[in-house]
C-alpha cells in the first residue's frame, strides 16, 4: 500500500504525512503526477485560496490524472481546501472551476449572529447523516479541528455524508464513490483524526 500526498505547493504536507505514517501507512509526498500510477490511496491536502490552488494543480499537470484516478476508483481524500477543490467551482476571489469530482460549489460562510466569527477556527462537532466507512467507530458529534472561511455546498444530498453546526450548518464530509473529502483536518484532530485516517486507509474503493 502506497499513499501519495499531492504536493502542488500549498500548505502543510509534513503533518499529513506524519499522521498517515502514525496510522501505519507508507506515505509519499510527490510533486510528480506520474507517481499516482503506483498509488493505492491519494490524499489531496491544502490550505490557501481556491483559485490559486487550481492554477497550481493545472501547472503541475495534476488535473487530468486526478480525474482519471477518480474514474478508476482509487480512494481519494481531499482535506480542507483539498475537499473544496473536488467541487465544480469555487467563489473564493472570483469564480474558479474546480476538479468537478463531486457536484457542488464552494461559498463563503455567513455568520448567523455576532458571536459567530469567520474564519471558523477550532474544534467543532461532526454529525453523520448516514453510516459511512470513513466515520466508522467515530461517535456521533465527535469534535474535529476546522480552520476555514468557505464551505462546500453539495448539489445532491446523497453526497453530503456529515454536517457541522456553524453559520447555520455546513457539509463537513462528502463522498461520491471512492472520492471523499473532509472540511476539517484529520491530521490535526488527535485521536479521532487518526481513526478517520485509518478508516480511509482500510477502504479499497467505493463505499
Amino acid at each position: 500500500m502506497t499513499v501519495v500526498i499531492v504536493d502542488y505547493g500549498m500548505g502543510n504536507l509534513a503533518s499529513v504525512q506524519r499522521a498517515l505514517e502514525e496510522c501505519g501507512a507508507a506515505a509519499e509526498v510527490s510533486d510528480d503526477p506520474a507517481t499516482l500510477a503506483q498509488a493505492s490511496h491519494v490524499v489531496l491536502p491544502g490550505v490557501g485560496a481556491f483559485g490559486d490552488a487550481m492554477a497550481r494543480l493545472a501547472t503541475g499537470g495534476w488535473i487530468a490524472p486526478l480525474r482519471q484516478l477518480a474514474a478508476d476508483g482509487i480512494p481519494l481524500l481531499g482535506i480542507c481546501l483539498g475537499m473544496q477543490l473536488l467541487a465544480d467551482y469555487g467563489e473564493e476571489g472570483g469564480a474558479h472551476d474546480g476538479l468537478g469530482l463531486i457536484p457542488g460549489r464552494v461559498v463563503r460562510l455567513h455568520p448567523g449572529d455576532a458571536r459567530e466569527r469567520v474564519p471558523h477556527v477550532g474544534w467543532n462537532e461532526v454529525s453523520a447523516q448516514r453510516a459511512d466507512p470513513l466515520l466508522e467507530s467515530i461517535a456521533p458529534r465527535t469534535d474535529f479541528y476546522f480552520v476555514h472561511s468557505y464551505h462546500f455546498v453539495a448539489v445532491k444530498a446523497e453526497h453530503a455524508v456529515a454536517h457541522t453546526p456553524y453559520c447555520g450548518e455546513f457539509v463537513s464530509v462528502v463522498r461520491a464513490g471512492s472520492v471523499m473529502g473532509t472540511q476539517f483536518h484529520p491530521e490535526k484532530s488527535s485521536r479521532a483524526g487518526f481513526r478517520l485516517l485509518r478508516n480511509f486507509l482500510a477502504g479499497h474503493g467505493d463505499a
Binding site: G11, G48, G122, P165
Partner: protein, 255 residues
C-alpha cells in the same frame, strides 16, 4: 457548537523553553520536545510556540527545530517569532506549522499580512498584538517584544489587521505576561467588539477563573496560557472541565 480553545503557549529561545515576566528576564525552563509530547498525550486543543528573541536578534525562525517539533504535534501548531517575509511564512508552513504568527513586521510592512493571506489563506495568518498601557492610561501597540511603541491603539490596529487579511488575533497585555494576575479583560472586550475574526486572549492567565472572565467578559474565542500551565498544578484538561461546569462549550477529552 464551536468549542472554546485552551491553548498552552511555549516560549522558545536559543534552543530551549523559557519563562519571562513582562516580555523580559527570560529564564530557561527546559527542552521543547518533551513538552510537546506531553501536551500531545493530554489532547490539548492547540499549541503556540513563540521564538521570543528572533526579531531582536535579526534572524528568522529555527526551521529545523520547528520541523522536528511539528512532526510530534498532532494538534494545531501555531508558530511565531521572526516572521518578516512571505517566504518565511511559506517556510514555516512547509516545516509543519499550521498557522503563522505575524507581529513586528506587520507595522513596517502591512502588505506582508495581505500577501500571506492571499497566498496561503487568511486562516493560517495569526496577527499578534502586544499592548502596553501608557502613563496616560491609553493602550498602545508595541513591536519588537514590547520595546518599541507604535503610536496606534489596539482597536484601530486590530481593525486594520482584519482588513489586511489576518484570520485571527493573538492579543497580549505585556505587563500581565508571566504574572499569573489575570488577563486584561477590558482590553480583550474592546478588541473583540471591534473585529469579526477570532481573538485569542493572552498574557496573565493565573487561574481557571481568569480564563472564564476572558471568554465571558472579554468575548475571546480562545485563551492562551504559559506560566499557568508550567508553574502551577493547573492543567488544560482541568481548565476545560472548569469552563464546561460554567456553561462554556469545550472539547471533551477523547477516549
Amino acid at each position: 457548537m464551536l468549542k472554546v480553545r485552551v491553548i498552552p503557549t511555549l516560549l522558545w529561545k536559543d534552543g530551549s523553553l523559557v519563562k519571562g515576566t513582562g516580555f523580559d528576564s527570560w529564564r530557561r525552563i527546559g527542552a521543547a520536545m518533551p513538552a510537546i509530547k506531553v501536551y500531545n498525550t493530554r489532547d490539548v486543543d492547540e499549541l503556540v510556540l513563540m521564538d521570543v528573541t528572533a526579531t531582536a536578534d535579526g534572524r528568522g525562525p529555527d526551521l529545523a527545530e520547528i520541523d522536528a517539533l511539528a512532526r510530534e504535534c498532532f494538534v494545531p501548531f501555531t508558530v511565531g517569532g521572526g516572521v518578516a517575509s512571505v517566504e518565511t511564512v511559506r517556510d514555516l508552513l512547509r516545516a509543519g506549522a499550521d498557522k503563522v504568527i505575524v507581529n513586528s513586521a506587520a507595522y513596517s510592512n502591512p502588505a506582508l499580512v495581505t500577501e500571506a493571506a492571499l497566498r496561503f489563506g487568511s486562516q493560517c495568518v495569526v496577527a499578534a498584538i502586544d499592548v502596553l498601557r501608557g502613563d496616560d492610561g491609553a493602550y498602545v501597540c508595541c513591536a519588537r517584544s514590547g520595546s518599541q511603541r507604535m503610536g496606534i491603539g489596539p482597536v484601530a490596529w486590530a481593525q486594520r489587521l482584519e482588513q489586511l487579511g489576518a484570520g485571527e488575533i493573538l492579543l497580549t497585555r505585556i505587563e500581565r505576561d508571566g504574572t499569573l494576575q489575570g488577563y486584561d479583560i477590558e482590553l480583550a472586550a474592546q478588541v473583540t467588539a471591534a473585529v469579526s475574526i477570532p481573538v485569542i486572549a493572552a498574557g496573565g492567565a493565573g487561574s481557571y477563573d481568569d480564563m472564564l472572565q476572558a471568554l465571558r467578559g472579554g468575548g475571546a474565542s480562545a485563551v492562551a496560557a504559559g506560566a499557568m500551565f508550567q508553574f502551577t498544578e493547573q492543567t488544560p484538561r482541568e481548565a476545560k472541565q472548569f469552563l464546561a461546569a460554567h456553561g462554556i462549550p469545550v472539547r471533551a477529552a477523547a477516549n
